[in-house]
Every structure is written in structure tokens, then in C-alpha cells.
Symmetry: C4
């Protein structure tokens, strides 16, 4: 019944492996169908090599399985918390990619040190606060989503389409699951470049605001002039 | 006579190459058949590209060759020492993978800095003490096993399924040789992330105990809820 | 009408992907036909996997499209500024390759620390000054070209065939677009080696001038003795 | 006339590319036929992808071409200087591999920090002194060989089968050209691990002598017990 959604989510999960963002079963991508109020997500702990589109699990916004025989990813409650809070988001990716995870483990936001970053993120990629013992004990995965939402009181989710869960790793999102995968890949790339820039000079300064905004708006919003007009895009 | 065991050990050795954990002949995997009291292991210094399952050498727990015409890995006495001391272990892998070896060479345990680590290791991955001149002179490889066992007086082998031999490199293990390979791969990954985290912030703190335990128990023990129930696993 | 030029520029863009210098759509190569006063360049934001030679856009030296139906790369004004100022340059490449971008983000020139560098660059690879708010607001991409030209008052473009745009990334060039691609690859390699050398020893000294010149002249100018005579080259 | 020699040298050069030790034309391997007093070496600046065994150039120990129509590698005088001084050496490799070159550029020997290193090198991999302006001006490539030989007054070439030419990069050798390639690969690996170990702990100590010697002698000399007896080796 949700074949197209399951197909796109399955493909997105395989892309994560192809881009080197995932080893073994460390990661998951989900996609939402807002009109029907459902989310398709990777099953928990399944081998990417043999996983099929039909294995994707469809849940409603409260987390009840509506299609599929396997258990959904153990991170499903985190994804749902984000879908409920971030209305424009249509796809979410969680990975433990190397450099983004280093920043998450160091409890440090990724500063916007260059235009590669500014092309996709309108400022630093923030890091959440740590969870308390109480939050971990009760509904851990939902609490992970909640501290992300709390952190985003100061940000617009579609202008800063990723976050670092402290001591854990990155979550990235987008209007679609394909965009979420792309943001996840770019996040890893800018994390690696920020890591190396800080190693060269620990006091490197963020881009000035006027340059950050210029780059972000080249690609986003009404004044964007990067890429092709819609009908010519491939 | 031990064809299945030899086949699984041979495959495990090839996996090490495929995952980039081994170059040239730097590594070895072994698997035990506890019921028959034997261990199959890679022959010493053989080329992975032309090695066949039939080349695996089968030894008893005292190290006597019971099947095979080649010389077993020079690290065999270390493997046997671990099998004798760690009763639940069914497979062992030794490699000189890059980042785990850096920690071993620096004589430093890998602290548990994030949930990727906590998903597989119930705390830091320890480093052994250095061997004395006397230990090196006499039964060097057995002594390597002995300092690992000594180090594990404070740990449960299946909750901390790896160790760093000081100045040498990692040993990883598991209930099966396939699990040992997987732990070896994950160890390298978390070593690399810990290395980069410490470069970003040399005073990064380990995960709080409540979060470490939560993650470890998501995947291990009676309360595990990660992955599929046995009959649905692939 | 410009089929050969478009073909060579298309191939050069694909080489950037093959060498790992580009992910997604982060990069562009262009080639000039000086006799006809035109430049062929990659279209903006197009997918490398499906892009064809016929998609390349041909513009004149003032930036007017003379062939092609797609929008040229948003960096076209930067390329044109360089072609107008650097008369011997026949090809230009812009990428966000990892290590060269780290130096650009740190606002630091790449010092000539070894003979690999000296074989291709007659001294340090310079970094531009930052753009002012006024320059960014008005003709940003042209201004990027202008600060590069300003920076090269002190250098000969064909003896130092690359630059780092501060807070942005590298531009490399050459007599042909093929040479520009090669310089872009070598730049990334020497950036990575310089990065690692500085990590080992932050006070590493540049090569002495006599060794720099010797290496550069082994490969360039009238006394070159590296490689084959023209008729034997392949 | 020297077909076997040329074939083995050609294959060795291709191995350098396959192992990622060479990009573009940055490297060369040579092999000696001591009985006939000749050395086969890669031609200068030739593309690895199209190079054939027949392209290898054969020179005598004084550097005169005895077979071949192409110009030999510009580093030929360095190779010959080493063959003349190191009687047991049958193959030499020069590359600009990343981590070994970082140590060469930092002017720093690679300390023996672990058993991976000790398995192949009987102590630190030394770095030469820098060349003087006079040495660079006159017979630069021969002088490069001469400072290596000078540096090896304190070492046995076959027990320390590599060196770092200061500000330049590594040379590795062995009894055969195949062994020289292998040492070049191992050198890069141990350089990378030493680099990372020093980043973790800048005061990491070399292995104690008793452990270094034990590992080196496991693989080399009359008491070696690593690998298979000759007739069983593959």
C-alpha cells in the first residue's frame, strides 16, 4: 500500500552505505507521507546487503506499525519526535559517520568555517545538551528527539538541516528522504573539513555573516541563482 | 574432518582483508570447536589471495597440530591462551589495524566517548601492561596471551570483547569467529572516532555510566530490544 | 560548433569525480579557446553521472552564452576574471577538495615543505585576502576573481598554478584544462602532506630556495630534464 | 635481452599504483641483475596506464643506457648510487607516499613504536641530512644517493630497508624488486601509525630493545620462525 514510500526509503538506506556513511547496521533513514500520516523506516539491525524494499516498516505518527512484519529501527521514536515537531521535514537520516560523530562526542557544534558549509547550513550545526539520567531511564529514544527539538527553538529546521546528538552522532533531515541523505553526506564532509581546519588553527574564525548569508541564499529561498530552473534540472 | 570449522575460519580471514583491516599478511583469525577441543587458525605468512579453506591448520588446546600440513600462525599460542581462559569465546581475531594500533602503541586504553562504542563494549577497551624482558625471552606469544588474561581479571571477556596489547595491536573476540571479525571492525571504527575526538578536545569525558549501560543493554542481555527476534533475523 | 572544446571540458569535469576531488555538484572545470574568445564550462548544479558533453555551456569573455541551453556554473564570473587577467591560462578548475579547503578555511598559504610541492609550484600556494561586505554584496563571484588577480601581482600564474580563496577553497589552472585538473589533484596531495607535516612539527621550515628552484626547473622551462622529449611522450 | 628483469620491474611499478603509493607519475621502481651488472628502471614521466614491460630502460652501473629507447627516470643516478654501495640490494623503490613523506618533510626519523615496525625494520627508519646548495647545484640526484649512503654508515641496509630523504620522500629497497615494493608499502603503513601515535601522545617511547629484537628475529635471520619453510611457501 505504501510501495513508493518504502521504495524511496529503501534506496536512501542503501545510499548511506554507498557513500561510506554506514558500516554494518549503524544507521537508518526514514521518509514521511504527511498526507497519509505515516513514516516508512528501516527495520532494526537488518543486513543492508539482503534488505529489500518490502522489508521497510510503516508506522503512524504515534509509532504503531501499520504495515510490515519486522521490528522498526530502535531509533524510530526519535524520528517521530522530529516529524511531529518539524512540519516541513519529509525525510530523516541518522548515521554514526566518522567526523560528525567526533564533534558529537566532543560535545562541540560544527562552526561555519567556509562557503561549503554556508551553501547548505545557515550557520553552525548545533550540538544538543546531554540527556539526564532520568531522561535516559525513561523513553530514551523519545527523549533524544525531545532534546533536539529543544535545541531547535533557536533554529529553523530547514535552514539548519542537521544536529549533533551529544555523545552520540548526527541526525540530518530535509524536505524529502533524498535530501536528508544528501545533507547527511555534506555534513560529514564539512565536519571533516572543520576538524582539519581546527587542527591547523584552533582559533579559526567563522565566516563573516555577510558571506554566510550570501552563500546560503545563492542556493536557498526566493533569490537563489544556483542550479537550473526546475524544468531543466536532471 | 573439520571442514566446516576450517571454512568459517578461512572466510573470516578473507573478511579482514575485505574490510581493510589487514594488508599483506598482518593478521589472523581463528575459530574454536569447544566440543571437540580444537581450534582452526590461519597458517603463518600465507598470501590471502591464494589461501584456501583446506590450508587452515587445526590444533588442539595444547597447540599440537591435529590436521593440516602447514605451520600455524606464529600467534597461535596467544589465541590458545585466550581460549583456555575465556570459556565463552568461540573466535579470535588479531590485526594491526591503523587506529586501534595507534592506541596500543601509545599505551592508552580507548575511552568510551560515545554510544557507538557503548553499543558493543561495556566500557573502555583496555590496554595490557608491557611485557618484561624475561617474558619476551621465554614463550613470547604465550606471555602475550597471559598479560591479556591478567588484564581481564577486572573485565568480562564477552562484555569487553577486545583488548590492546601494548606496543603491538588489538585482539578481538566473540562467541563465534564471525562475531570476532565484526568486533574487530567496530573496534577500528571506534578507535578512529576516539582518536579524532581527542584531537578536537584532549579532555573529552567518557559517557556517563547511565548512558553507557543503557546502550550496551539495548543490544546485549535479557533486556535487549535492538534487532529482530531470532526467527526474523537475516 | 565548439564540440572539441566541450568534449575536453566535459571529460575534465568527470576526472574531478574520478580523482575524489568532487562530491555531489561541488566543483567545476572550464577550458578556453583563446583564438575564438570563448570559454566552455560545466552547467550549474548538474548531476555528474548523467551530464553529457553537449550540456557544456559556451560563453564569451564577457559572460554572454554563445552556445548551450543550460545556465552556466554560478562560478563562471570568477573563471572569466582569471582568463582575462592571466593570458597564458587555457583551463581552470574549482573544487572544494578536503585538505586544500582546510588551508583556505584557516586562511593560510600552503608552504613549500618538500620536493613534491616544488615539482609543480615555484613556492608557496598563496591565500587571498578576505572579501569585504561591499565586495560580497555586489558581483560576489567577479570579486572573488578580482582578489585572486590582486593576490597574483606578486606571482606568475603559470609558475604558481593555484590559489586558495580565503574561507572558500582552491582554484587551479594550467595551459590546458587537462593540466588544470592535474594541478588540482597535485594541490590536494601536497595540501594533505603539508597538513600532516605541520601536525608532526608546527615549525617545519620551507625547502631552501636552491632546492625549490632545482626541482621546479627539472620539470619546467628551458633546462627541464624530467619526462620524455615531445615525440616520445605518451 | 633483459626481458625477465624488465617484466618484473614493470610489474613492480604497477603494484605501486595498485597499493595507492603513487599518483600520476610520482614514483619509480628498479631491479638489478648483479651478474650482468645492469639495472632496469621505469622511464621518466611515463603514464602508468599505458606503460609496457618493453618500455623499461636498462642501464649499466655507470648509468649508460644498454637497452631501451626512452629516457630513464630522472632519479636513476640515486638508484645507481645505492646499488653501488649496498651490495645485497636487488630492488629499489622511490615514492612520495603520504605519511612517509610527511616525516621526510618534517626532517624526522620514524621511531619504532610498535611490533608492526619491528617485524620489518630493526630500529627507527632514519632521515638523511639536508643537501647543501653545492650538492644540489652539481649532480643533484647522485648527491641524494650519496647522503643516503653516508646516513647508512650506522645501519645495515638489509636490516633497515628504507630511508627518508629530508624534504623529499622515502626510498625503500630489498633483496628483490618485489621485496622493495613490499617494504615501501609497509613503510607507509608504519609511518601512518607512528604519525597517529605521536598525535595521541607526543612523548610515546620506542619499543624496548628486547622486544624490537625479538620481533625482528621472528622474521629475519637464522632463528626466524614466521611463515612457512621454503618449499611450502606460496
Amino acid at each position: 500500500m505504501y510501495n513508493d514510500l518504502k521504495e524511496s526509503v529503501w534506496k536512501a538506506n542503501l545510499e548511506l552505505v554507498r557513500y561510506g556513511l554506514v558500516v554494518l547496521t549503524f544507521g537508518n533513514a526514514s521518509g514521511a507521507d504527511r498526507a497519509r500520516g505515516v513514516v516508512a523506516i528501516k527495520p532494526s539491525g537488518l543486513d543492508y546487503a539482503t534488505m529489500k524494499a518490502a522489508d521497510m516498516v510503516v508506522v503512524d505518527m504515534a509509532g504503531r506499525v501499520v504495515e510490515g512484519t519486522l521490528r522498526p529501527s530502535s531509533d524510530t521514536p526519535t524520528h517521530l519526535e522530529l516529524y511531529r515537531a518539524f512540519s516541513g521535514v519529509g525525510g530523516i537520516v541518522h548515521v554514526h559517520s566518522l567526523y560528525a560523530t567526533m564533534f558529537a562526542q566532543a560535545g562541540r557544534a560544527i562552526p561555519c568555517l567556509g562557503t561549503t558549509h554556508a551553501d547548505y547550513f545557515n550557520g553552525a550545526v548545533p550540538v544538543t545538551r546531554s540527556l539526564t539520567a532520568g531522561e535516559v531511564a525513561k523513553d530514551y529514544e523519545t527523549a533524544t528527539g525531545r532534546v533536539i527539538v529543544e535545541c531547535f527553538r533557536r533554529f529553523k529546521p530547514l535552514e539548519t538541516p542537521a544536529v549533533l546528538a551529544a555523545g552520540h552522532g548526527p541526525f540530518a533531515w530535509g524536505a524529502t528522504v533524498e535530501e536528508a541523505v544528501q545533507h547527511s553526506l555534506i555534513l560529514e564532509r564539512i565536519a571533516r573539513m572543520a576538524w582539519g581546519t581546527l587542527a591547523l588553527n584552533g582559533r579559526s574564525r567563522p565566516l563573516p555573516d555577510y558571506l554566510l548569508r550570501r552563500h546560503f541564499r545563492r542556493k536557498h529561498g526566493p533569490d537563489a541563482y544556483y542550479g537550473q530552473t526546475k524544468e531543466k534540472r536532471r
